[in-house]
């Protein structure tokens, strides 16, 4: 099968083009010699199947950051039949040298001038044919976002792949990936002939937004307000949806599952309905909130605001030994810690990267959010609940900052960095729809992999030996609880929760599902029963512990694979555990001492 690789700088819409080309059928591939995951998809182009690989964004082929080394290593080690180079037409002056560099590889090449609509709006005129002649390959104006020029691009890619160019040998490729001062002169000459840019750029909308958004005084308050507004919106829209999903799942249980599974022997019925189903249904009812939450995150991410957040927070973060990019990663971690950890690949300095990776797992991810939304609803008044949740986010930040500050003392580091502030953009409905589908898909994957197995195991542990009272001290879970009691009692955490916390290590969603299994109820009944099992102080202590203790299994695996250091991974697992215990202990004992 022929292989097509997508190459381009960051912020060029390369991944949007990839998604459009492949219809989001991408899978993470396994590449010998390349240690990181790359997205690839097989598509039908013309009459043959072609494998399309989305390479990470890069600025040039010199390998300054980890991502660029990945691209180099990929091009050096994997056979590629053609390259599709995605350029941001609005910044053609900066992007052309990369395209020229790539033509030196001698592979069939197609240049896609993306965001051509945006370039035209800026008054930029680009002579695509002149560029094509200068580069010696086809140059096609496209808009990956709106799909303009997409058919022509597909056709050009098919032609490029059909072109029986001899595959250069690996040694040849390697020698061609060399230095390139001449490239810039060549690019300048070509640009002078083909690109006309208006001398004075009209002050555009982005500049006007930035005057407020990046204001020295108002910038940070505006950012916090935007964040709070986002959460408010997610819950206002999410709560009714959550009720609807819970109602549907309850209907399935009473109308379908109970009659169908009724004839099963009691232990099996309990395992399937009261174990697996109740656990999963409790977690699943939170999916609408999580999808909305990810949509809001995607909106912020695609809008170009993230690099502004890095700008606003850099002064604070530099005092903690990190930088603005680290703060952005923490925010990304609100969604899921795993992609945020992978995002640190842009950092080159190892100490800086590791320190950032150490604080990301403390970021309150969406799986933990489900647990907290549930517990705050069960234990606090509707008026108090949002503030309790806000306090947990605050604790998450403080824990990250304290960790960074301590880590920075142990291993101070500084890395020069530069970030682009792209113009503000609005994502299309299509992009939004794609994103939410990916999140639902991700949840279903986790559900089948971890959650069902986890909650089922919790059911078994809380019901065996079978002559013991369910959830009682004679069960396996009860025995484990008694064993952990000296550690958990000072935190005000009920010993029956020990087994729940144990499984929370696998995936934090299990905490909620396991709670349903443990209490033996779901829906509103569960909410009420939890309220009778612990008071507000105990509940908050539990939430503090769940927030900070060991990251989930996927996060630990990512930490290990990204750093390839067992010592670091151990620190990243043990430190949060200590922090969690210390924070819960201080809070619970302090609150009790004050008479709460």
């Amino acid at each position: 099968m022929k292989r097509l690789a997508l190459v381009g700088m960051p912020n060029t819409g390369k991944s949007t083009f990839f998604n459009r080309l492949t219809g989001a059928s991408a899978r993470v591939g396994n590449w010998p010699g390349v240690t990181v995951d790359l997205y690839a998809a097989k598509i039908l182009l013309g009459e043959s199947m072609v494998e399309v690989v989305d390479l990470p964004g890069l600025y040039d082929l010199h390998g300054y950051s980890g991502d660029e080394q990945v691209v180099r290593r990929f091009l050096e080690s994997q056979p590629v039949d053609a390259l599709a180079v995605v350029l941001n037409a609005g910044q053609i002056e900066h992007q052309l040298p990369l395209a020229l560099q790539l033509t030196h590889l001698g592979l069939p090449l197609v240049v896609l001038l993306n965001m051509s609509d945006e370039a035209r709006a800026m008054g930029l005129s680009i002579d695509a044919e002149g560029l094509a002649a200068g580069l010696g390959c086809r140059v096609i104006a496209v808009s990956a976002k709106y799909g303009h020029g997409y058919g022509v691009a597909r056709e050009a890619l098919r032609e490029a792949l059909a072109n029986p160019a001899p595959r250069p040998s690996l040694e040849e490729l390697h020698s061609r990936l060399g230095g390139d001062d001449a490239v810039v002169e060549q690019a300048d000459a070509l640009l002078a002939d083909t690109v006309v840019r208006p001398r004075q750029m009209a002050p555009n909308l982005s500049a006007r937004i930035d005057r407020l958004a990046l204001h020295p005084l108002w910038g940070i308050p505006l950012f916090i307000a935007a964040l709070l507004g986002m959460f408010q919106l997610v819950y206002t829209l999410g709560a009714p949806l959550q009720d609807a999903v819970a109602w549907c799942l309850d209907g399935i249980r009473t109308l379908l599952l109970e009659p169908l599974a009724g004839w099963l022997p009691a232990p099996l019925y309990g395992l399937l309905v009261e174990g697996a189903w109740d656990g999963l249904a409790t977690v699943a009812s939170f999916v609408p909130v999580i999808v909305l939450f990810f949509l809001a995150m995607a909106l912020i991410e695609d809008s170009g605001y993230l690099s502004r957040i890095a700008f606003l927070t850099d002064a604070l973060m530099s005092r903690l030994g990190l930088d603005g990019r680290g703060f952005v990663m923490l925010l990304m971690g609100f969604g899921c810690n795993v992609p945020a950890l992978m995002g640190t690949r842009v950092m080159r300095e190892r100490r800086l990267r590791w320190l950032t990776m150490l604080i990301i797992p403390l970021s309150l991810c969406s799986a933990r959010l489900q647990v907290f939304v549930f517990l705050t609803t069960a234990l606090f008044t509707p008026h108090q609940a949002p503030w309790v949740l806000a306090a947990l986010y605050l604790v998450s930040f403080v824990a990250a900052f304290v960790t960074a500050w301590l880590g920075g003392r142990v291993a101070p580091c500084h890395e020069p960095f530069v970030l682009e502030l792209p113009p503000y953009r609005l994502p299309t409905l299509r992009q939004i729809a794609l994103r939410s589908w990916q999140e639902v898909h991700h949840f279903l994957m986790r559900a089948t992999r971890f959650i069902v197995i986890g909650v089922t195991l919790v059911w078994v542990l809380t019901h065996y030996p079978h002559d013991a009272v369910a959830g009682g001290p004679a069960t396996l879970a009860g025995m484990f609880g008694q064993w952990m009691e000296p550690l958990l009692a000072p935190l005000g955490i009920d010993q029956t929760m020990a087994v729940v916390l144990l499984f929370g290590f696998v995936a934090k969603e299990i905490v909620l599902g396991a709670l349903a299994v443990l209490v033996g109820a779901d829906g509103d009944a569960l909410t009420q029963l939890v309220g009778t099992r612990m008071d507000a102080v105990q509940g908050f202590s539990l939430m503090l512990f769940v927030l900070l203790y060991t990251p989930c299994l996927s996060t630990v695996a990512t930490l290990k694979s990204e750093t390839r250091s067992l010592a670091f991974t151990t620190v990243a697992v043990v430190w949060p555990l200590l922090l969690a215990w210390g924070a819960s202990f201080a809070f619970y004992q302090g609150a009790r001492l004050l008479g709460f």
């Binding site: 900066h94 990046l214 020295p216 960095f417 530069v418």
Partner: protein, 78 residues
């Protein structure tokens, strides 16, 4: 027409890049983003509390820390 380091400029200043005295890898990155000797740039804004600068080079806006900008020498436009 004075030669100064980039971190001393205030928002609104325009200048031409004279030299980049930075580590090789970082210089390479800046050059790929269009910060090359002889190119004009302008300082758009600066963050509070000694935070970073926003510099415009051609069509691109970049955020640079002041300590890193210290390694960039520029000639102020009249």
């Amino acid at each position: 027409m004075s030669v100064v380091t980039l971190d001393t400029l205030s928002p609104g200043h325009e200048a031409t890049i004279e030299s980049l005295d930075l580590d090789a890898g970082f210089r390479q990155r800046l050059q790929a983003l269009g910060l090359r000797c002889g190119r004009p740039l302008s300082v758009e804004r600066q963050a509070a509390l000694g935070g970073p600068l926003v510099v415009r080079v051609g069509p691109v806006q970049l955020m640079l820390r002041r300590c890193d900008a210290h390694g960039i020498t520029v000639r102020l436009s009249a």
